[in-house]
């Protein structure tokens, strides 16, 4: 039994060590210009929160939650901004940057000549993306606490939820990137991302849409993310978050699987 399990355990530890080496590479490559980029990812959701959540919110007034409670419009929008910034942060790293590294820098052509395998590269890049995404989320939650849009214990629960959202979108983005032919294809992805951003129950409750559209919105990934984080941040009772978590976990697993398969096919020519 031990001889059967031990090699696999060793394999897992070696694999995660190799994924970590991919993260390390990114840390080494982190240069000053990059910090500006990092900053922009944090500022963007804040701008939306202040302009729409707080600004337009004064016109909208309070909104009823499904359980009947009334919340301010800013409190309604803020969790959605958190979810979408977790999405954007993860996607930026696993689409543009990942594609550039793979296709133009030919970075992974060098990496696969070492013991590191495509799955480990994918996991490492995703882990790195999430270091960035988590920092955004934590900072944004800090702002939410400061504005009294959530409480500290709820924010502490919302952080892992936001990280999960990032992992799921990061994996999906990486999988999609392996199908991209050129930078032009990313325009399409950008449009899709913006559509999700507008219609995922971010600014308007999904119940406001006609039934068919409502159902369509409910199966999109950003809706599930917004639903999860809003539930946590506003302290909604019930088990409906479980569905969101399962959805996002499945999305992450599928994304990683497809990404590493495709990378294997592209790199091991």
């Amino acid at each position: 039994m031990v001889t059967l399990i031990l090699p696999r355990l060793v394999d897992v530890s070696a694999a995660s060590r190799r994924s970590a080496s991919v993260v390390e590479r990114n840390v080494a490559a982190l240069k000053s210009v990059y910090w500006l980029l990092l900053l922009s990812g944090f500022v963007e959701p804040l701008l939306y929160l202040f302009s729409i959540g707080v600004g337009v919110g004064t016109l909208v007034g309070d909104l009823p939650l499904p359980d009947g409670r009334l919340v301010s419009y800013a409190a309604f929008v803020a969790p959605a901004m958190l979810a979408s910034s977790a999405m954007t942060g993860a996607l930026a790293e696993t689409t543009f940057n990942f594609f550039g590294k793979m296709k133009y820098m030919k970075l992974y052509d060098g990496v696969i000549a070492t013991p590191v395998r495509p799955f480990e590269i994918a996991l490492g890049e995703l882990g790195w993306a999430m270091l960035r995404g988590s920092a955004y989320s934590a900072a944004f939650l800090g702002v939410m606490i400061a504005l009294d849009l959530t409480t500290v214990p709820r924010a502490l629960t919302a952080l892992p939820a936001a990280v999960l959202v990032g992992f799921a979108f990061g994996a999906l983005g990486m999988a999609l990137s392996t199908f991209m032919r050129s930078w032009q294809d990313f325009d399409l992805m950008g449009s899709a991302q913006f559509t999700l951003f507008l219609f995922s129950g971010t600014f308007v409750p999904a119940q406001a849409y006609p039934t068919l559209l409502h159902w369509l919105v409910e199966v999109t990934p950003l809706y599930r993310s917004v639903h999860l984080i809003r539930g946590v941040a506003l302290g909604v009772d019930g088990w409906s978050w479980l569905l969101d978590v399962l959805y996002l976990l499945a999305m992450m697993a599928l994304g990683l699987l497809v990404a590493s398969r495709r990378m294997g096919r592209l790199l091991y020519r």
């Binding site: 080496s21 820098m105 052509d109 013991p115 590191v116 091991y268 020519r269």
Partner: protein, 297 residues
């Protein structure tokens, strides 16, 4: 064997490289050298046939084998976002080498390829020769048992080529197995104990450089250049001289055992070439004889 769709890049080659030797794959562009190297480097699964590296199966034991190989690919794929030194230390980490050991190893290797002064420079401003040396240094970071070099000196100036050869020769002396591809004959003659000539995905000849020259060429070659529009009319008169007569647009080559004797004979035939050169036969003669003079792209 390696196929890409309908195209067969490597069509059944049979070679065995012994530990500690320097083995070369020679061939024109498109002969299947790089495809072979990628398969040996365990980054390209063979479409058929049997391949064993270090007595292991490249498909099943890829990571284990790659941990013991050093690879210098045809096109440098250094990390442009890292410095020269970081290219080595980060690469070492992919092999699971400790940070401390990676730093020490990087310093040694930078010294070995004479790049210590450029250690903190980015990769991009380096000259072609420097990048090549850095790629070779990177291939050595895990102290590999076998080093695969795909056209290690293509595109380098003579100084850089000689420096690379000298470093590779030192590696060989340290007992590292070298497997290289090249289309430079002098490179093959300098470095390889044994080589195969590939053409169209197949092996057309095999042996040591010396043995190949003996088998496929004569000891000496006489190059005659006649001051005329065409060399062709002179060729007929030279028939029967030496083992083989080859007519090129600008000169005639005589493949003979004794060059000076052949030159004397040419004179007795009453021919008066404008230019005569007697030289030893080289691998280039073998190569061109075996793979033809027509341009392949």
């Amino acid at each position: 064997m390696k196929r890409f769709g309908d195209f067969t890049a490597v069509d059944g080659i049979d070679v065995e490289v012994r530990s500690g030797e320097a083995f070369g794959f020679l061939g024109p562009n498109g002969a299947g050298k790089s495809s072979t190297m990628r398969m040996v480097g365990c980054i390209s699964p063979p479409s058929g046939g049997e391949l064993r590296i270090l007595d292991l199966d490249p498909v099943r034991d890829g990571p284990v084998i790659r941990a013991r190989l050093g690879v210098c690919p045809q096109l440098d794929n250094l990390d442009p976002e890292l410095t020269v030194r970081e290219n080595l230390t980060v690469y070492a980490r992919y092999f699971g080498i400790s940070r401390r050991a990676a730093r020490e190893r990087a310093a040694e290797l930078l010294d070995f390829v004479q790049l210590t002064e450029r250690a903190d420079s980015k990769v991009e401003p380096l000259s072609g020769g420097m990048k090549r040396r850095l790629t070779i240094a990177r291939a050595l970071v895990n102290e590999p048992e076998i080093v695969l070099l795909d056209e290690p000196t293509t595109g380098l100036d003579p100084q850089a080529r000689h420096l690379v050869w000298e470093r590779l020769f030192r590696l060989k002396q340290q007992g590292v197995t070298l497997v290289l591809t090249t289309h430079y004959m002098d490179e093959a003659e300098q470095l390889c104990d044994r080589l195969v000539v590939m053409d169209g995905g197949r092996i057309v000849a095999e042996g040591s450089p010396r043995a190949l020259i003996e088998r496929h060429s004569t000891r000496e070659v006489v190059e005659l250049r006649f001051a005329a529009e065409s060399q062709e009319p002179f060729a007929g008169k030279l028939d029967g001289l030496g083992e083989r007569v080859e007519v090129l647009p600008d000169r005639i080559l005589l493949y003979v055992a004794d060059g000076d004797a052949a030159v004397a004979e040419v004179a007795t035939l009453g021919l008066n070439p404008a230019n005569v050169l007697v030289r030893r036969s080289g691998l280039e003669d073998v190569f061109l004889h075996l793979t033809g003079r027509t341009l392949v792209d």
